[in-house]
Symmetry: C2
């Protein structure tokens, strides 16, 4: 594999398209060598787009390869992440990885050269590999350049044709046009073959063009193997006042007759002998260097952060946590110039619009498109912003794949889901987040917060702004009494002991709205002469194991966990895992939403779900009457 | 509210469009009365579409209101589910609910007249309320009529304009055109006002029309308050050979000057005094009856089920569970004529294409559109089919909101997610399902299965076909030895004791691929003189509590749970919940994927994640060395 003699570099200048064509052949050869060496990967999907990437990288991309974090760099997003051999071949030509590294570590354990690119590599902005996500993420990056920075960087996206079947791509193009993202150029590698067989639209570039045009973007149709045509299209794209989609007709596996435009070759490396043949057909190994086109630096004077002045709420006042979220977001926006908000047309209900009222220039409504909402947040985090994205918690499930991938991207995004649980009331099950804690807890490295009152919400929203990773805050629709003085402190991984004595017989553990039903139950139990401890587990992940241990110790293991969520994957599971992890013996009565809720008032539905004070009292009695484990 | 005198019914025949206009006014009045009586709801969103629904129901819908389960009935899907007052007003005119019932029970506790419609009502096919789902579901219903039954029923969908911002709507229109669903008519109520303010495209019907046309559907643009124009459009739609989208320009709150075409009125009922005014302006109460237009019945002779002949696998042979899934699906297809399969362009990898090879007429590829894949399954289940939908488990997260709503719809769908966990190997994190167990466990009423070998897969896939609700099976990419004889029996809620003795010191609990690492670990422990029990927890939900209790009892509570999934919400949480529920004391060593995986071989990644035999042995030693709780 490595024995091929280097083809002499033709005497071309870097302006020469002939050089670019040679570079594309080099990418092809390297993609084949890399995937064959690894024994897996997607050579055919790399070869179809090699000319596109060669022209783009050599003649249009402005990028300081030695300074990948430079704010002036263009962004190149490989939305068709399975073409990683092509991207890595480019990186080799750019001089940031050696041929040896790629041939020995692509797709290997512990290597940053993963099967699909991730930001473990400093030249990669977002993880891709789940189709239909790179472009939506790129929209967020382009939004920043166009609307927050007035920066000259451009955002280039290479998409596959299969992924245009994902609705998320049309959400993205729609918003790209809506926000006039002229800094965004999307190149679609229309190689007509998907994983299983022909794509839905094949090489019908006109069909794609009609869709792109209808969604408000400019389209250009080209032969994706004609470097001159590619060059002209990318140049034209840069001159327009609208986002451009370059529809490039290509042939999968182009350059090797052994698999070019042939079905059954998706995601299959060539066997070594066949690879040898392919490399010969492609003209052998090359060692061309990508000409560096440095970005235009524009000095930016970042506005300094200012002290945060959080809203204050009087203890006892009835205030919804979603209101406190909105208030705090607005206050944080004043203090933190890099804080931005993405809405999905529900800002008047999540109360994110309190931020919009003061900082409209940092507020982006993507309308009813939750996938794009989260993707925009991911893209904004690439540019170093502090993005908050908020919708009903139930509708965040729409963006689950994006949230999962945000963790792989190591993006720093803050998600807020309002209208948690049956507490939503008359609107019914479709509007109730009853799976969101399970979804968000299972995201790698996530933080999950669930405040019970306005004061804790305010403090936790401030903490979120300073947290890395995927951070989720769950908020409640209705208004409940403020429990904490403004001077209270809160921390990720913390909890609050709201009520305790030296002779507690049972501990009531709640979060969000159930903190209030626990407090009510504790009072009822006290009236019966039973001392009950109440803990506000506002930090669901990480959870305060120490306080749980203490509660179990103090009550001979009698714990009642109450959550407005389905029984699986939420607060109850988190408590049991923490107890188990600390080797704490307890018997937990777990009250959760076990039947399908309908409509009703919040109080009625909380009671019907078995989360109200009387049910907590009954559960406490079951523990007190039963054998302590 | 109920004191309004009935307006005399004008002497119109049912053919008269004047009657329809009056019926629309009745719907408006009833929608206002209903929401005011309930104190919540969406009158303005109902009023904009009243003329559309009146014309549709009175002059086009063929429906036997007394026999909602009749196979000949048309289907009416309220994709804009928040307009439930309008739908229920229609049901009242159809005579299936009384005015009194609606006025006293809409949005009340325990009532079937929920805030957003659900199939608790026999005239409702699917639950709506999460925007962008009714139309995709309807595509599944129309697929059945057009491609499985050649049935004359039509599918009518009423959409809002806001929901056209959801990518899922474009996945749906794309597939409606691709599958030539001429039996599908989509009516879009373009009232230009969303929840927060104006929609993205306002009244730009031309912009919508361009998009609809580009996605391959016919479009008609009309004044949505002109009953004659509506009637003509719906008639024209029924005559076409393609799906039709009727773009109807309407005014939100049309009919009452107090809120017509006015912002700030989304989801707000009128106060009683204002409602009185509105009702007067609308001409007062009416009591018109919907003329019944019975469906054309076409006798269908259902093919009888035949005995299932499951594939058989020799014990010890290396066979991937995804292969066994495909084999079994094909075999079930032969036995069960109502079994259908939906693919998202990965059938050659999930091996669902084994079914396609034998039963191509019951196999629908929606290409890379996982939301539409699940929605099509939901729609097919409405028509009584047994739908299986399969993709990589990671990509099922894309359809989380649809899966959640499938449970609210009480749909019977079978989902299969292949490529579970780090076992995927070199492709890396983007392709690995590591959150799917958490997602699927938290779905109301779900069943979650995770077989370890080909034989158990085969049996469980057969069980799935006979299970109600949302049923999920998790499959593995790689090939592992067959563990069970073909004669073994499996059940939902069951498990298998693969290894045990009278003096087991530790129990190793796995599912899927970790059953194999547990078996390997047990052998290593035996070599050290330690007896280890091994349990295959192939039913994750419901889980076999009894066997867990027995395992804890036999081993003095020493349990190791091993799962190829993130630590939250999966097998470990399920085991702890079951132990807690049965009051069983145990100390569980929980091995799960706690770091972000990259690429590598399956065995390397399983080891790196701490799930391999040596880690299980080490965990067993920790339990044996430590204090037993």
């Amino acid at each position: 594999m490595t024995s091929h003699p280097l083809t002499p570099t033709p005497h071309t200048s870097t302006d020469d398209l002939g050089f670019v064509a040679e570079l594309a052949q080099q990418f092809r050869v390297d993609a084949i060598r890399m995937s064959t060496a690894a024994g897996s990967g997607h050579p055919t999907s790399s070869l179809s787009a090699a000319d596109l990437v060669a022209v783009l990288a050599a003649r249009h991309l402005r990028y300081d390869w030695g300074e990948p974090s430079s704010a002036g760099n263009d962004h190149l997003i490989l939305s068709k992440g399975h073409a990683s051999p092509l991207l890595y071949a480019l990186f080799k030509a750019a001089g940031v990885v050696t041929d040896h590294q790629l041939m020995t570590s692509y797709r290997r354990l512990g290597s940053p050269w993963e099967g699909h690119p991730t930001p473990v590599l400093p030249w990669v902005d977002v993880a891709t590999g789940s189709l239909g996500q790179g472009l939506p993420d790129a929209v967020g990056i382009a939004l920043a350049g166009r609307h927050l920075e007035d920066a000259p960087y451009r955002v280039w996206v290479l998409c596959g044709d299969s992924e245009l079947a994902e609705g998320s791509m049309w959400e993205a193009l729609d918003k790209a046009a809506y926000y006039s993202l002229s800094n965004l150029t999307v190149v679609v590698d229309v190689n007509r073959l998907g994983m299983r067989g022909p794509t839905e639209l094949g090489w019908d570039l006109r069909a794609y063009a009609r869709r792109v045009a209808a969604f408000g973007c400019r389209h250009l149709e080209i032969d994706g193997h004609d470097v001159g045509a590619i060059d002209a299209a990318l140049q034209e794209a840069a001159d327009l006042d609208r986002p451009t989609v370059v529809l490039a007709q290509t042939r999968k596996g182009h350059g090797f007759s052994g698999f070019e435009d042939t079905g059954g070759w998706h995601g299959k490396p060539l066997a070594p002998e066949l690879a040898e043949r392919a490399i010969i057909e492609l003209g052998g190994n090359r060692d061309l260097a990508l000409p560096q086109r440095l970005p235009v630096h524009r000095p930016v004077t970042a506005k300094p952060d200012r002290p945060v002045v959080l809203p204050r709420y009087p203890v006892g006042a009835n205030i919804a946590t979603r209101i406190a979220f909105g208030d705090t977001l607005a206050a944080l926006g004043t203090a933190l110039p890099r804080l931005v908000v993405v809405d999905a047309e529900v800002g008047n209900s999540t109360h994110a619009d309190a931020f919009a009222a003061i900082h409209p220039e940092r507020y982006f409504d993507v309308f009813t498109a939750e996938q794009q909402m989260v993707a925009a947040a991911i893209g904004l985090s690439v540019r170093g912003y502090i993005p908050f994205a908020a919708t009903f918690g139930a509708f965040l499930t729409r963006a689950h794949d994006f949230i999962r991938m945000a963790a792989v991207s190591r993006a720093n995004i803050r998600l807020v889901g309002t209208h948690a649980g049956v507490e939503v009331g008359p609107d019914g099950a479709s509007q109730m987040a009853l799976e969101d804690l399970a979804m968000m807890r299972a995201v790698h490295g996530s933080t999950v917060l669930y405040p019970s009152d306005a004061t804790s919400t305010s403090h936790l929203v401030e903490l979120m702004a300073r947290c890395d990773g995927v951070v989720y805050l769950r908020a409640t629709r209705g208004a409940y009494p403020v429990l904490y003085e403004a001077t209270e402190t809160f921390e990720v991984g913390g909890s609050k002991l709201l009520r305790s004595s030296t002779h507690d017989e049972v501990a009531l553990l709640g979060a969000g709205v159930t903190v209030h039903t626990c407090l009510e139950a504790a009072q009822l139990l006290t009236d019966e002469g039973i001392c009950a401890r109440v803990v506000d587990l506002y930090s669901v992940k990480p959870i305060d194991s120490h306080t749980l241990q203490e509660a179990a110790k103090a009550t001979r293991g009698r714990l009642v966990v109450v959550e407005d969520h389905h029984p699986e994957g939420g607060l109850g599971d988190a408590v049991l895992a923490a107890l188990n992890h600390t080797g704490t013996t307890a018997h937990v009565e777990h009250l959760a939403v076990r039947t399908r809720p309908g409509s009703g008032s919040p109080a009625e539905l909380i009671d019907a779900a078995g989360l109200s004070a009387r049910h907590i009292v009954a559960a406490s009695h079951r523990l007190l009457d039963g054998a302590v484990p």
